[in-house]
């Protein structure tokens, strides 16, 4: 029994410009999760390079990648991944605990409240995840992804556990963030969710099989909460 080499990603060449809204699609096993892990600086490519803002993440060690994840990337997961028995505001504060520059508790609390307000959850700061609906939990997760003000938001099947109406709400928030100039990379296998993006990349067997701009882009009804917000210079580039 020899080890069989599995190429999760093979000859993937992808450029994502600052402020883009990219959706990555593909069936399971197509390598999109691996691509997501690489883009999210969770994983390193065995060969090749991944430049984020000109820095080759593939050459960074675990701590340096942790710093990148903390400061430059906001994660949104399919199953929300909030800490249970932990209030919404404490969940949102979490990334600030690991920042390069420590931030005092009052300041953290203030920012977390502001982030929750942006996703329309004011008044629910002290609810724990089990007291929140799926859509609300995902909004808490988005607030958490935003708190350190990262230029890149990485969403892995963010609507996978949500009903269609709640999915639209969540996608509206994501779109609003993109309108502010934040780069969004969205992983999904639902075509109607992918259509919120401006560009859709489809993968199969570790390769990119199509890369096209979305012409008839759907626009979700935008909740007031995310309508406002200053643009943030942002960039993301994967090669």
């Amino acid at each position: 029994m020899g080890e069989v080499e599995v190429r999760a990603l093979d000859a993937v060449d992808l450029d994502v410009a600052r402020g883009e809204f990219l959706a990555i699609m593909g069936p399971s096993g197509s390598g999109k999760t691996t691509l997501m892990n690489v883009i999210g600086a969770l994983d390193r490519p065995t060969s090749g390079s991944y430049l984020l803002d000109g820095v080759d993440v593939a050459t960074l060690d675990a701590d340096q990648r942790a710093e990148i994840r903390n400061a430059r990337i906001g994660f949104v997961f399919q199953n929300f991944n909030l800490l249970s028995r932990t209030s919404a505001v404490e969940n949102v504060e979490l990334p600030l605990l690991y920042g390069d520059m420590p931030i005092a508790a009052e300041e953290r609390r203030r920012r977390a409240r502001a982030a929750l307000a942006r996703v329309g959850l004011e008044g629910r700061e002290h609810h724990v995840p089990s007291q929140l609906s799926g859509g609300q939990q995902q909004r808490v997760a988005i607030a958490r992804a935003l708190i350190a003000d990262p230029p890149l938001l990485l969403a892995d099947e963010p609507t996978g556990n949500l009903d269609s109406r709640t999915s639209e709400e969540v996608m509206a928030i994501v779109e609003g963030l993109n309108d502010e100039g934040r780069t969004i990379v969205l992983i999904t296998h639902e075509p109607d969710i992918a259509l919120h993006a401006r560009r859709v990349v489809t993968m199969r067997d570790g390769r990119i099989v199509s890369d096209e701009l979305v012409r008839d882009r759907v626009r979700a009804p935008r909740p007031a909460a995310v309508a406002a917000g200053a643009g943030v210079p942002s960039t993301g580039s994967a090669r």
């Binding site: 892990n37 999210g40 969770l42 994983d43 675990a62 701590d63 942790a66 710093e67 994840r69 903390n70 400061a71 994660f75 997961f77 991944n81 909030l82 800490l83 028995r85 932990t86 404490e90 979490l94 990334p95 605990l97 690991y98 920042g99 520059m101 420590p102 931030i103 005092a104 508790a105 958490r144 992804a145 350190a148």
Partner: protein, 409 residues
């Protein structure tokens, strides 16, 4: 400086949060440490109290005190105690006259029996002594007088009562000059001793009657032999000299040839103190190590819970890593958690240990000694247990791969 403070504060906060989120489990985890620390403190306090009271009563006898016991004869190569005492009153007399380093000598005979005064009676121990006894024990009469040399010579039926005996037989006072019956033999009370309190073994030293040894031998026991000779050297630095003189004299008197074992033993105050100290030290170590083992078990309890906690919170660790926690953050979080559990448990244990020591002291009447040393030691050991047993689970958590951890169900 401020940044470092905030940073440390944040790490501690994360650790505290997870403890508070699992109140019951945290409490149960701490229980092992609480009991361990409380045990150590209570055990050391009891052992320390015993040692202290023993040392106190030994040193109250004075450092120039020597006791000579009969016995320890070698027969057929075995060291045995013979039933028959080898010491006589004449030996005591000889020590007094012939040993220049000896100040006071008192032949001693022990007995016990019923003492009656009018309607009342009291069972106590009867100690036969010589006139030097008050000087040897540094113990004087509070009322009346001690018996005289003439009374010892004449085996007079006089007795000096300890305060406990006096209080029980003469509740209204007036013991001196009264008539009592010891084992049905009438005695006159010549004096009452000063109150002394408990001895090193916890016996009430005031619960005894002192009578001339001659009287006890002839009228109460009917023996020619004495149980012990109590001696004091003229000064503490002449104890060894006195011992040598006594040994030479007694060997000669008992006709013990060179190379043969003596048929008597001598104990100086220092030796008694050393033996007692050794005994109580052994007791302390024994109790302390039993307690330390329970602390160790408490530590293993912490490790067990922390390992379970790491496994259970693999997902949480993954999330924390994904949003930027470095390995050292995760390590610190779990380490802080373990140490806080141990330290808080230790603090509660200290309180409980002090409380139970005081309870033991008031309920059982045992002397206890609570020093800051053992408390600090138990507490420090608890914290150390936390670090030691918390490190492995924490390292395990810190080494998790974020991708694997996020996928963990």
């Amino acid at each position: 400086m401020k940044l470092a403070l905030v940073r440390t504060g944040n790490i501690v906060k994360v650790g505290l949060q997870s403890i508070l989120r699992n109140t019951l489990r945290s409490a149960l985890t701490m229980l092992g440490i609480i009991i361990g620390v409380a045990c150590v403190i209570a055990m050391v306090a009891v052992a320390g109290g015993a040692s202290q009271s023993i040392q106190a009563s030994i040193s109250s006898l004075g450092t120039n005190f020597i006791q000579i016991f009969p016995g320890a004869v070698t027969q057929s190569g075995a060291r045995i105690f013979t039933g028959q005492s080898t010491l006589t009153a004449e030996d005591a007399e000889a020590i007094k006259t012939e040993c220049p380093s000896v100040a006071y000598v008192s032949a001693s005979v022990r007995s016990a029996g019923q003492i009656a005064a009018g309607e009342l009676n009291w069972s106590t121990s009867i100690f036969g002594a010589d006139v030097d006894w008050p000087f040897i024990r540094a113990w004087n009469v509070a009322e009346g007088s001690f018996f005289t040399e003439a009374e010892v010579k004449g085996a007079a039926k006089v007795a000096v009562l300890g305060t406990t005996v006096a209080d029980n037989l003469f509740p209204g006072g007036g013991a001196v000059g009264a008539l009592i019956r010891i084992k049905n033999v009438p005695f006159r009370v010549s004096g009452v001793l000063e109150k002394k309190g408990g001895s090193m073994m916890g016996q009430d030293q005031d619960d005894q009657v002192i009578a001339p040894y001659t009287t006890v031998m002839k009228r109460l026991v009917g023996t020619q032999r004495i149980n012990m000779i109590q001696v004091t050297a003229v000064s503490p630095d002449r104890v060894a000299e006195a011992k040598t003189e006594i040994e030479a004299l007694l060997r000669q008197r008992q006709r013990i040839g060179p190379g043969q074992d003596s048929n008597f033993m001598m104990r100086t105050q220092e030796e008694i103190a050393a033996t007692a100290a050794e005994n109580t030290r052994t007791l302390s170590i024994l109790l302390g190590s039993v307690a330390a083992i329970s602390l160790l078990v408490g530590g293993i309890g912490i490790m067990n819970i922390m390992l379970v906690s790491v496994t259970e919170r693999t997902r949480e660790i993954g999330v924390r890593m994904a949003i930027g926690a470095k390995a050292r953050h995760v390590l610190a979080q779990f380490l802080v958690e373990a140490v806080v559990l141990a330290v808080v448990g230790g603090a509660i244990g200290v309180g409980l240990g002090i409380g139970s020591s005081l309870l033991i002291s008031s309920l059982a009447g045992w002397p206890v000694r609570l020093g800051p040393g053992p408390i600090a030691l138990a507490f420090g050991f608890a914290a150390l247990v936390g670090v030691f047993f918390g490190y492995y689970p924490a390292r395990r958590a810190a080494r998790l791969d974020p991708i694997e951890a996020l996928r963990y169900e």
